[in-house]
């Protein structure tokens, strides 16, 4: 192995160690199933390995990984829509898994239900900010839009989340939050346990 190859490997290892938890977590709430999440994360780092020389340094590399993960998962979704019958059935399975398991934490259950009621674009930008801790400028890079656009979308997503959450709180009777059947299979929202 040449010195350059050793250096590449060192850089990749550092990247993997620093950011694989972030990317695994991100894929966990974006992908359709736990195995899809694992595959997506693997694909992200394979891409990173192949394009290591093009990767920016520092925190920009993290943003690059998020953007790549987003594209990989979008590809997965496109694929699953266009597969033949077996794959359609598996997509059905994914939708089944996508139901959020009952949470022992009441507040957490309400949060998940409120997230489910958001549109996918709102949910995505909100979670990139609140769970992935990205700034609006970084979110803009991930989504491929202007920072100003990201800021506006984030503001609106926060407002809608608050409305949904408060509505649920107001109707909360201490049991599991009510969920409309149609939403469970169409929102695509889930938080997958780590594989």
């Amino acid at each position: 192995m040449t010195e350059r190859e050793r250096e590449r490997r060192r850089r990749f290892d550092a990247l993997f160690t620093s950011y694989s938890p972030d990317i695994l977590a991100y894929c966990g709430w974006r992908a359709g199933s736990a195995s899809d999440a694992q595959d997506a994360a693997a694909d992200v780092f394979l891409t990173a390995w192949r394009r290591l020389d093009e990767l920016p340094d520092g925190d920009a590399a993290r943003v690059w990984l998020y953007a790549t993960a987003r594209r990989v998962i979008a590809n997965q979704r496109r694929s699953s829509r266009r597969r033949v019958a077996l794959y359609e059935r598996l997509a059905l399975d994914a939708a089944t898994v996508a139901r959020v398991p009952p949470s022992p934490n009441r507040e957490e259950a309400l949060v998940h239900e409120a997230l489910r009621r958001l549109g996918s674009r709102d949910r995505e930008i909100l979670l990139l900010a609140e769970w992935e801790d990205l700034t609006p400028a970084q979110i803009a890079e991930v989504l491929g839009c202007l920072a100003m656009t990201a800021r506006g979308r984030l503001h609106r997503a926060r407002r809608r989340f608050r409305t949904a959450f408060e509505d649920l709180l107001a109707r909360d009777d201490g049991g599991q939050p009510r969920r409309e059947d149609s939403e469970t299979s169409t929102t695509g929202y889930s938080v997958q346990p780590l594989p």
């Binding site: 694989s20 977590a25 994360a41 394009r51 769970w131 959450f165 780590l194």
Partner: protein, 323 residues
Amino acid sequence: MKASESLQALRRANPRATAGYARSVDAAADALRAQLVTTSADVAVEVGAPGPRTRHPAPRRRLARAAAVASLAAVAATAAVLTLGSPGVGPGVANAAAAVRQAATVTAASAERSGTAVVRITHDGRAWAGTTIRWHGSDLAVSRDAPQRQAKAGSRMLLVDGTLYGIDPVDGGWVVLGNPQNIDPDSGTTPDEYLAAVREDVGGETLHRIVDGMTGLTTRQLGDGSTVYSGTVPAGLIARESGFKEGQPIRVLPFGYVAHDEAADPAAPLHAAVTVSAGGIVSEITITWGTGASAWRYTVAYSRLGATTAPAAPPDARPLRER
């Protein structure tokens, strides 16, 4: 309620805040690291997993050609054995080169009809991946031997009389997938492309390419009458470029495994050992590269060439939409 209160609740619901998350993420990262090393085209065949896309413009035409020449080749191979004798007999490097090529010809001819290939990959001495392929004419049976792949989608495939059967990942039973040409996972290798590549590998073309490229040949006799021919082969003759992904070329070892490290560099010399049985048939190919913790060993063991029975369609296979 203030906006900040709803956002605080949202932040508290972040899965990363849950107990045991750090431990889970460590385990997931380990699994991910392993997956990165073993990512292979068989994964690509599995639902949704992107992978290398191979291009085989006319697999059916090639199959027809292969079937047509199979019987002629078998006759020619038998004649070659009778005329030239066992390939391990001749002394000297020139004879060794001729002998191993002769063995490849004989093996390829036998392999055209039927056979069994067991593929094993180890990394740093540990098993990483494995597949067993049985073929008979146009029919194929492929099973992944790694324990973690049992009963998963893509863990077993059967192609019998032009119909592809797969494993239902829900209950592990067989399902009828239909004509493999109709299955397009969109990103990654289609089952049809994968099967076409396997046919090329079992059909002798791959074996010829490896043997023809071997240099620095040495021979070693084994107690059972087999001869091991060792030498170096440029990685490019073993791992073929099989399309592009993310703008980068992908190289795939025979039977569909993505090449890593030196094996992905077409100019890198890899150590190759071809074992020829006393009967003049190639029984095993071993390719090794890397050292220490980066040591890889890729082995293909051939058996029952020309004598492997045809796989049967699973009698309990269910139609895809039944459920």
